[in-house]
Amino acid sequence: MILILSNKYDIAVDYVVRVLSKKKIDFLRINTEDLIDKKVSVSFPNFSYIITKKGMRYNLENRLQSVWFRRPGKPFEFTLEENRPRKSVITFVEDQWHAFIEGLKSIENVFWINDPDKNRAAENKIYQLKLAQKIGLQIPKTCITNDKEEIMNFLEQCGGKIVAKALYSPLIEEESKDYFIFTNIIESVKEIPECEFQLAPMIFQELLKEKVDYRLTIVGDECFPVKVVRESDRGVAEDWRIIKDGLKFVPCELPKDITDKCVEFVKKLGLVFGAIDLVKSFDKFYFLEINPNGEWAWLQKEAGLPIAETIVDYLVNGGIT
């Protein structure tokens, strides 16, 4: 059996579910935000790992073949604010379910896309850049710091223009609104109070001129590259995620040397799936980052890439294709 751990609003899962259903492959989708409405139990000494869904008891210990660890939902995540328990209850409940889900790793001989521990480790951008460089992928000149003087020196080294981005998740959740930090161009920091930098380290990188963005989605040995262009077929000067409309994701080919290194990179991270951001600037490809559990549903739909089918192949064959 294939187990999918996600949430009910994760559209990427629907693409995979459709393929699984069409092929009549045995699967169990658990939207983990709903676990609080389901019954589960783990027993010893005769080890069993039971989840009940729609009145059926699934003993994962003797049925589980593969897990797609997609985006497990949190308990109460989709509950309206006024119906949620207090924060301490939510935190406690989340922690207990987290441990239950993590415990699935105790079931032996199971193929994971991706192993959650590897996902977690791979999310670190410093680790990513170090490994990418080691493998031979070109990376932009980079300085990760909270030191204003370092930033000023780096700006000078890079000809007076650099980009800045968050070192970890760029989402800011305020009480009434949420915000997002995209990649921004910096030309001077002289007037900025030092304490703003000191508060949190940030990534600063050389500005890659005349850049064209590429998104390379990898599933095992399979590569799905797309070029990110405006309707006019020009590249995007700024952070392409800022642009909501008028973007095209065009399936393309990348040099074999680049895709080979990216596949190797994903494997070295211990991942099966990875979504890599690359940039081409003056005929040179640069590695920017990998999203170990990156979004791809829009590429399946808009660019017609068979990513869901490939994920299913890997889940069915346990990584041997």
Partner: protein, 77 residues
Amino acid sequence: MKMNRVEPFSFRFKREVVSPSRAALKNNDEVYDDYIDMLMVLEDGKWIYAIDGKEKRKTKKCDIEKGEDQKDDRIWR
């Protein structure tokens, strides 16, 4: 150093997420079908699979997910 009023430098570049969170959406035009394990949406008076819908997703997650999603968040936190 007093830091209680200081915000990180990166906050200077924050942009408001355009769409609401899922919980805030209260969307009556979509429903998760537990029997087929897929999300259904109401379009032109008919219930269809959300993945076949014309409408792009409207949630905050969708806003931020295009290309970015470290929302595994050490699984959750």
